[in-house]
């Protein structure tokens, strides 16, 4: 392949790029070839060493890709707005805090200012709005790591949205408050706190590690919270079908929670607080070692439809049943 053939083919493969960008690439290779020839290099050999135009273009296109199939990122404020009706929201993020907040009306929207090593992609398909953010070259940019406090993804959910939300990130916290009514909510992070308050949902699944989970004033059918090395605090939450709280090496505190199936498990951490209910209606099983307990190890009667399981070790259990004021 000679110079002109190569450059023409490369230009064709770069058709998805805008004219300016495409021009830059062609100029670069044309210059490279000229400099090479000037230095006594063989034109054919040089061109061959560049690789196939298809592969060169693939790499360049991949670099410049910020795929927007339906949502359009606005240059000024980096708002990514859903253009179609949304039934499900998926946020797939890395190393970045996530804040989920309600808006009275309008579309589902993500606000995010990508840093230099963030790559963002948005898609909408079959009512599923997906926002993906990933980080490049994390290891060699420690200073970006540490200046990321201000850096977060903000997801605005309108009151009218009653669909499912699945959001995950890593090494960062997740916060959601005042969201109205959702169906399934799944939140996952690591090395970060999860803090949720004031919303209603069908099922709630919140998971993290090395971070506290704090839930306050939530209502739904069932709720599972899981962390490690982090405390769990649940207050004024009602999940009749199940309230499962799991951690280890940390304490757990509940207050004014209500469920028909309580499942609290920890190790090396106390489990304390008040739950609504009449203990006689619950099949109670509890266990701890090296700690006192206000609950019997086993108190089960036939016909009991509700259950309470509380397990920890090297710590006390202090759970009391309160009659719920109607």
């Amino acid at each position: 392949m000679n110079q002109e053939e190569f450059l023409q083919q490369l230009a064709r493969e770069l058709a998805p790029l805008n004219e300016e960008e495409r021009g830059r690439v062609i100029d670069y290779y044309r210059e490279m070839i000229c400099d090479g020839i000037e230095n006594g290099e063989d034109e054919q050999k040089m061109i061959e060493s560049f690789g196939k135009p298809y592969d060169i273009a693939a790499q360049i296109l991949a670099e410049s890709r910020s795929t927007v199939q339906a949502a359009i990122p606005s240059e000024e404020e980096n708002t990514y707005t859903a253009k179609n009706p949304v039934q499900s929201i998926i946020i797939d993020a890395r190393q970045i805090a996530l804040e989920i907040r309600p808006v009275p009306s309008g579309p589902v929207e993500v606000h995010f200012m990508p840093a230099e090593n963030d790559r963002v992609s948005i898609s909408e398909q079959d009512g599923i709005f997906t926002f993906r953010q990933t980080v490049l070259y994390a290891i060699f940019h420690w200073h970006i790591f540490f200046s990321r406090e201000q850096h977060k993804i903000v997801l605005d959910i309108p009151e009218s949205f009653h669909g499912a939300l699945s959001a995950s990130t890593s090494n960062a916290r997740i916060g959601a408050s005042g969201l109205g009514k959702l169906s399934h909510v799944r939140l996952e992070s690591s090395n970060g706190q999860i803090s949720l308050s004031n919303f209603e949902c069908g099922t709630l699944n919140a998971k993290t590690s090395n971070g506290a989970v704090i839930i306050h004033n939530l209502y739904g059918s069932n709720c599972t919270v899981q962390t490690s090395n982090g405390r769990i605090s649940a207050e004024s939450c009602t999940f009749p079908d199940g309230l499962t709280l799991r951690t280890c090496n940390s304490g757990m505190f509940v207050q004014s929670v209500s469920s028909d199936q309580y499942d609290f498990a920890s190790s090396n951490g106390s489990i304390r607080g008040t739950v609504f209910g009449d203990m006689r209606e619950y099949a109670v099983r509890s266990h701890t070692s090296n700690g006192s307990s206000t609950l019997p190890p086993e108190l089960v009667y036939p016909d009991q439809k509700k259950s309470m399981n509380v397990h920890t070790s090297n710590a006390r259990i202090d759970i009391r049943f309160l009659q719920q004021s109607t």
């Binding site: 830059r24 100029d27 490279m32 560049f50 592969d55 200073h143």
Partner: protein, 103 residues
């Protein structure tokens, strides 16, 4: 070296080179090659990203009847090199640790 890491390191090498004086594509490839594997095609996205991130700026100079594009380092680029060097001590410790543990 895995691709992602290599890209990060190449960026720093290009910046370090440009600290001395501005340079152009062909020469950058030639000057860096002894130290790390780099091809013309690998270099383009790196130069483009550095320019987009304001780490380098470009200017054109006439050479043998054609215009040659030169890259010049900017303050942001110099800062990146500084950051990299300040991390070098920590990386050295980590390498030592991994080496020790792998004996």
């Amino acid at each position: 070296m895995d691709t992602q890491r290599k890209k990060g390191v190449l960026e720093i090498c290009v910046l370090a080179l440009l600290q001395r004086e501005p340079s152009y594509g062909y020469r950058i490839v030639r000057d860096i090659s002894p130290y790390i594997e780099v091809s013309e095609s690998t270099l383009y996205p790196i130069l483009r990203r550095l320019e987009a991130g304001d780490c380098v700026s470009t200017f054109s100079q006439e050479h043998n009847g054609r215009l040659r594009k030169y890259y010049r380092i900017e303050p942001q680029g110099k800062e990146k090199v500084r950051q990299f060097l300040s991390e070098a001590e920590e990386m050295r410790r980590i390498y030592q640790f991994v080496e020790e543990e792998s004996k």
